[in-house]
């Protein structure tokens, strides 16, 4: 109990509260501008949070992400351009409502359901994480190896696009992670004689490059000008909301649950959670034909899901050190840099820190309501900030941020290189998220792999000796081979239609 009180003491300090409020406002800015994602915002925030204590640092990232995802609904409703990918699932509905003059219903629903979903996710986090940690305490290197494999595979397969490209992206990330001094023997790998590369590719500049610089590149080649703004005035946000949302309260709960679960899957973040929840909502709705025409049910459920996923992503992150989405990947990268390996040991060694993080989650999700209201009021002006001034400022901020982490210009060069890599990857359909997870977890994966191999003395069956390891191993192998097997099975079973190569004659 004293731990919980001490945790409150850690949070309710003016400095921490100011940081939370500041990142909330930053979240409004980043979420409201299309093209700036919550992940990018977290990456941009890192150079600042890097110099803070862990509690305000995590609180800042959590608040920024939660508010940015909500604020992303605003340009979606007003401009039909989602501010963050997480809002894309219900942009059509929200925009339709604005055109019908019921914009406050759309945005009020967004804000309130986001808070509800986020709070639900936080509740799950607070309850499930310690329970899982107790299980994880008994994990050995074999279990961690299989779990990390499963998590990375999930990230590669679940990301949008082909599974093959997701796997390729993952391998690219893992390969980049091997650059530097080998962890078991100290041999320099892929350093090509460079002294700086011996320390490996610095994580934060890499992320800034892949998420922010790549976006600057995209802006440099973008053709389309900004679309005109819907000028309908948005009135009282919360009036009549309770009555409008009452029939969908089960859906909102389902949305929060689905979101939290999907968020907990590594690599699956708020955008996937929102799409899945939207699809589920339409499937189980009593009025599916109204979806897409301005129906609030989809907005409510998917809006709850995308914020729920933000909290859910922290479950594997805190318990196993495996990030549930790209934002937690960034947060874990920061924690590792500060010498704090997230894992079950944190639950024993620093319970106060953990409770403080949980309280920060509650505060952040509660703040969504007032900040969301402020965001809607400010949206008209924020959305009009000219990109030709904003993007250079982001560029400058990235350069300084990348420099600030390593205090060398090498960081800036890494940021540039990985910005180009990230841009080229996305252009060719290779998702960036698996690469980032590979980069973050590559070192850990290899460490677990090598120690397991050394323990087993090369005997691969040792990977399946322990029951949990065996179960995880079998599941991982199934996930790897099942898609291929299924495709082969289907191809065998389908009767081949007679192919008419000539086709109908054209006259």
């Amino acid at each position: 109990m004293t731990d919980v009180l001490a945790a409150f003491g850690l949070i309710l300090q003016p400095y921490v509260l100011a940081v939370i409020l500041g990142s909330g406002c930053l979240g409004i800015l980043i979420g409201s501008i299309p093209g700036l994602t919550a992940t990018m915002g977290a990456a941009l925030l890192v150079p600042i949070t890097f110099f803070m204590d862990p509690v305000p640092a995590i609180a800042a990232i959590v608040t920024l992400a939660a508010v940015a995802v909500v604020a992303g609904d605003i340009p979606g409703a007003l401009l039909r351009m989602p501010g963050t990918p997480a809002s894309a699932a219900y942009t059509l509905d929200a925009h339709a409502l604005v055109r019908q003059g019921r914009g406050e219903l759309a945005l009020g629903t967004s804000v309130v359901c986001a808070a509800l979903g986020g709070l639900f996710g936080t509740l799950v986090l607070v309850v499930a994480a310690p329970l899982l940690a107790r299980v994880a305490l008994n994990f050995s290197d074999f279990e961690y190896f299989w779990l990390t494999c499963l998590g990375l595979t999930c990230a590669a397969f679940v990301s949008t696009g082909s599974r093959l490209k997701g796997a390729a992206s993952l391998f690219i990330g893992l390969l980049i992670a091997t650059i530097g001094l080998d962890v078991t023997s100290g041999y320099p790998r892929f350093t090509f004689g460079s002294l700086e590369l011996m320390g490996g590719v610095p994580l934060i500049p890499a992320m800034i490059g892949m998420f922010a610089i790549a976006e600057v590149f995209r802006h440099a080649v973008a053709l389309s000008p900004a679309p005109p703004l819907e000028q309908r005035p948005v009135g009282g946000l919360f009036s009549g909301l309770g009555k409008a949302l009452r029939p969908y309260r089960l859906g909102i709960l389902r949305g929060g649950a689905v979101g939290t679960l999907i968020g907990a899957l590594p690599g699956a973040g708020a955008d996937i959670a929102a799409w899945v929840a939207y699809a589920l909502s339409r499937r189980f709705s009593k009025t599916p034909e109204r979806f897409g025409e301005g129906h609030v049910e989809g907005i409510a459920e998917a809006g709850a899901a995308n914020n729920g996923s933000l909290s859910g992503a922290w479950v594997p992150a805190l318990v196993f050190g495996i990030p549930g989405d790209t934002i937690t990947a960034i947060a874990i990268g920061v924690l590792i840099l500060k010498g704090m390996q997230p894992g079950p040991a944190v639950f024993i060694n620093s319970p106060t820190l953990l409770y403080a993080v949980f309280i920060a989650f509650f505060v952040a999700n509660l703040l969504i309501v007032p900040l969301g209201w402020a965001a809607v009021k400010a949206a008209k002006h924020v959305v009009r900030i000219p990109r030709n001034l904003l993007m250079p400022l982001i560029l400058g901020f990235c350069i300084v941020g990348a420099f600030a982490i390593t205090n060398t210009l090498f960081g800036v060069l890494v940021m540039l290189a990985l910005g180009l890599v990230g841009y080229l990857m996305e252009e060719n359909g290779l998702p960036v998220a698996p690469a980032i997870l590979g980069l973050v977890l590559g070192g850990l994966l290899e460490q677990n792999f090598m120690t397991s191999m050394l323990k087993a003395q090369g005997d691969l069956t040792a990977f399946f000796d322990r029951p949990v390891a065996a179960a995880l191993g079998v599941v991982t192998l199934l996930v790897w081979t099942l898609p291929l097997l299924l495709r082969g099975w289907r191809a065998l079973r389908r009767p081949r239609p007679p192919t008419n190569l000539k086709g109908p004659r054209r006259t």
């Binding site: 093959l164 023997s185 001034l389 400022l393 560029l395 800036v412 841009y423």
Partner: protein, 157 residues
């Protein structure tokens, strides 16, 4: 720079193959069965495998996407130059800032980028100046990051 899956697959396969080949040369310490070569070799082979599967899938599917598709912005010289300009600005900062100092270099970079992105010149001047000074104050004074100090700044304070 979008290439079709065949080229992409071959590039990835080449990359993975090169990595695995290079990794094969990493020596292990005597007495250790597995050394620094194991993990990168597996990853390199995995990447090469993905690349080959990607190329094979494109070959077998018979779809006719050309190996290189000129993007919509490819016809405008301004847009084609966009990315090289950004790269050049970053490199400019890397080379010039130790000598010139942070604030002037950043001001030049911001101004050049804003003007390139077609911002109105007066607004660009104001925003670039404000941005450079603001970032300096925020990072150097507030966060105590050792940003390079140049001759111009030494004159001022």
């Amino acid at each position: 720079m979008r290439v079709n899956d065949l080229v992409l697959g071959l590039v990835l396969a080449l990359l993975g193959g090169a990595a695995a080949w290079q990794a094969g040369g990493f020596p292990s310490r005597p007495g250790m069965i597995f050394g620094p070569a194991l993990f990168p070799t597996i990853i390199g082979l995995g990447l090469a495998g993905c690349g080959l599967l990607l190329a094979a899938r494109k070959l077998l599917s018979g779809d006719r996407t050309p190996w290189y598709v000129v993007p919509e912005w490819g016809r405008s010289l301004y847009h084609v130059a966009g990315i090289p300009v950004v790269v050049a600005l970053i490199l400019f900062y890397v080379w010039v800032s130790p000598a010139l100092g942070f604030t002037p270099t950043m001001f030049l970079v911001l101004l050049a980028a804003m003007l390139w992105f077609r911002a109105p010149p007066l607004r660009a001047l104001a925003a670039a100046a404000g941005g450079a000074v603001g970032i300096f104050l925020g990072f150097d004074l507030l966060l105590r990051v050792p940003l390079p100090v140049g001759p111009l700044e030494r004159l001022l304070w």
